[in-house]
Amino acid sequence: MGSRAAKVTMEANRNILVVDTDAFIAYVDEDDAHAEKTITILEACVEQEMILLYPTTVIVEAVTTLQRRLRKPFLAQKIVDEVKAQQFLIEPVTQEIIETAATLFRPDGSKHNTLFDAVVATIAKKTNARAVFSFDAWYKTQGLSLASDVF
């Protein structure tokens, strides 16, 4: 199956947000430092009918992080089940995406900006997304906006 984002027009793409792992984690934990802002952004997204795309790697990274920290690891399965039930718009991470992401990836720089982040940035650029739904300022260095600055 082709890229979901490729099916919408360039103009419509300005309604796209690419969701990163930190925002996804803040979705699920109401005590997270970004929890409140995350809900505010989601409510604004509902109002403006924004399209939220999830790179495959974001789902995997977020669920694995949560699985490691949950006292009841079976809850990780519940999260996966709910992701399936809600039919999130999951964007495939293809070889082309990885190749482009590799050009953004600087492992000799910060340890905190990983190939996962580079994949998110690549998909955001490829889809001409309005912003990345993340609180990581690194995306700004890539010429991208953060959802927290837009909403």
């Binding site: 979901r4 099916k7 919408v8 969701v19 792992t21 930190d22 925002a23 984690i25 803040a26 979705y27 699920v28 934990d29 109401e30 005590d31 997270d32 430092a33 970004h34 929890a35 995350t38 809900i39 989601l42 409510e43 997204c45 509902v46 403006q48 009918e49 924004m50 399209i51 939220l52 795309l53 990274e61 977020a62 694995t64 992080t65 949560l66 490691r68 920290r69 949950l70 006292r71 009841k72 809850l75 519940k78 999260i79 709910e82 992701v83 809600q86 039919q87 999130f88 718009l89 340890k111 905190h112 990983t114 609180f135």
Partner: protein, 97 residues
């Protein structure tokens, strides 16, 4: 449950006729196997419409997911900086200052 249904056997035998009927009438047809609905045949324009609706609904789906998950995880004690320092918690790298 579904008004227009056909069996897999009928589907195999009369596929061209069935596709034409769906295209002409716009009515979806549900394919059943042992009385259980399996898939539906719908017009391409209806599929596009569904895809558009799903896209437009994606933020609402995320909000519903967030609310449901927060309820489910309310007894868990996750680190307050888990979203910000997820690399650390996943890979045990140095936390961000």
């Amino acid at each position: 449950m579904f008004s227009n249904t056909i069996t897999i056997r009928e589907m195999m035998r009369k596929s061209s006729e069935i596709f034409e009927k769906v295209k002409q009438t716009g009515q979806p047809i549900v394919v059943v196997n042992r009385k259980e609905p399996q898939v539906a045949i719908i017009r391409l324009e209806d599929l596009k419409e569904l895809e558009q609706q799903r896209m437009k609904n994606s933020a609402r789906a995320a909000l519903q997911f967030a609310k449901k998950m927060r309820q489910l995880l309310q007894d868990e004690k996750l680190p307050r900086d888990l979203s910000q320092n997820h690399d650390y918690y996943l890979w045990e790298a140095e936390p961000q200052k």
